[in-house]
Symmetry: C2
Subunit: 80 residues, 2 copies
C-alpha cells in the first residue's frame, strides 16, 4: 500500500522559504505570483494491506515525526 | 488562480533525506515502512485568469527555478 503525505505550514505561520522563492520568481520576471507557500510531499511504501490499520499508523507517523503539528498541518491519501 | 506544484526526486536518484526519515520511522517502531521518498509541495497564488497562459508560465517557473530537472520531476495543477 502506498501513502502520500502532504505537510503544509499553517495559514497564520510565516513561511520564509516561500517568501524567498516568491522574491526569486519576481526577479525572474514572474510578477503575477502574489504568494508562495512551500510544504513537504512524502511517498511512503507500506508493507500492509489493512487499510484501516494503515490509516491509523500513518496518522501516528505524522503526529510523531513527519509533521510538527504546532506550526504544520498534514493530510494523507492511501492507495493500493 | 491557484497553482499546486509537486516536485519529486527522479526514481533512479538517491534520496538521502527519505532514507533518513525511513530510518527514524523504523526506530520509532513503524517497521512496515519499506520506502520513503520526499519531495516538495508548493502552492502559488497567481494574479491571472488566463488558464492557458498560466499553464505556460508555471511550466517556465518549474524549469527555471522550482525544480532541478536533472534530478527532479515536477507536475502541477491549476484551479480557480
Amino acid at each position: 500500500m502506498k501513502a502520500t503525505v502532504y505537510v503544509t505550514i499553517k495559514e497564520n505561520v510565516l513561511d520564509p522559504q516561500g517568501n524567498a522563492v516568491q522574491g526569486s520568481l519576481q526577479t525572474l520576471g514572474f510578477s503575477e505570483v502574489s504568494k508562495v507557500r512551500i510544504g513537504k510531499y512524502l511517498e511512503l511504501q507500506l508493507d500492509t494491506n489493512d487499510r484501516a490499520q494503515a490509516e491509523e499508523r500513518v496518522k501516528a507517523m505524522c503526529e510523531k515525526l513527519l509533521a510538527n503539528t504546532v506550526v504544520e498541518d498534514y493530510r494523507f491519501e492511501l492507495e493500493g
